[in-house]
Subunit: 214 residues, 2 copies
Amino acid sequence: MNSDMLIRITRYYRALNRLRAIGLEKVFAHNLSDAAGVSAAVVRKDFSILAIHGQKRGGYEITELIDKLSALLGKGEPQNVIVVGCGRIGKALMHYSGFEPDGIRVVAGFDTDPIVYSDASHPVPVYPLSRIEEVIEALDVRVAIITVPEASAADTAEKLMEAGIRGILNFSPITLKPRPVAEGENPCVIHNINIALELEQIFYQLQFPDAIKG
Amino acid sequence: MNSDMLIRITRYYRALNRLRAIGLEKVFAHNLSDAAGVSAAVVRKDFSILAIHGQKRGGYEITELIDKLSALLGKGEPQNVIVVGCGRIGKALMHYSGFEPDGIRVVAGFDTDPIVYSDASHPVPVYPLSRIEEVIEALDVRVAIITVPEASAADTAEKLMEAGIRGILNFSPITLKPRPVAEGENPCVIHNINIALELEQIFYQLQFPDAIKG
């Protein structure tokens, strides 16, 4: 499976859960194609690669599809995340309701500022960053969202990886890279979301509409 | 220029501004390679494609490089954006300081809820969504960040495009697609950031480290 296919499958999975929630039992390739932004032919091809077959009359049982995709996506495991850096963006993510449909739970926040971690108004407990090792072990967490200021992003990532964090979603404008690891060991998985860079690219594409090829 | 090269150039540009800010005058390909996460050879190749040449003793004048990249990136134009949907994430973005170094300014917010747009505590004016056309014309805005709930994302995008918005950075979990346009007309530029999907992918890659190829 390549990463484009993985993105499509997580989109199918999400769409299927929504369709089931509104009472549907059966789904057709073109329903999923709308949700994933691809053609119905691509949906059928993905399912055929995954050995998922429709019924004679056409269509797929939603529950059956959800079970199959769920196994493929490794669902069932706890999908706990922590938010490191509880400023405005970090706080917004601690409150974000968009994770629930995907079974993702923000279980704790971390900050270095006593004013922040002593504040009891957060939706989840917030700890001083120095307690990271102890807390992620207790809460069974391997994935962290980094929303610290740019200047402390690299150090924070280093601390998280030392403490046992294996996956990082980084919102700071610094591009974080996985540390080199020993042979046989898996590197930390890091995704960088650089909001300013995304806007830059939009401005650029507007100004030079023909400049971007592929 | 392809989109990977554009991303690298915006990264070089940002790194150069930082280096200049701390007093440096000259930069070497390997300085920029660290900042952009590519090899120094790639930096040299990019610059050679762009007909940017170093000096005999090696290295580039930072000010000269900034001027050249700035022209390439279409800087100098106002890079005004609006935030549509002033919930927690929208508010965090209205306060976000990470846009300034890139010359991007959030100039207004929009919301449909009178409680939100009557609240005077926002860092920029917040207007009812019904005033979108008038306000973006007055403020010279063509780019919007969408942070509305999932259920109203598609409608909101439609309204923005009708009002003259040409670029959208979408944080709602719905994948927005540009409307079909007449021949010769440029479609709206849409970038989708799906936070839950990014986390999903990280969880997936951790569970099946060998599943992602390319």
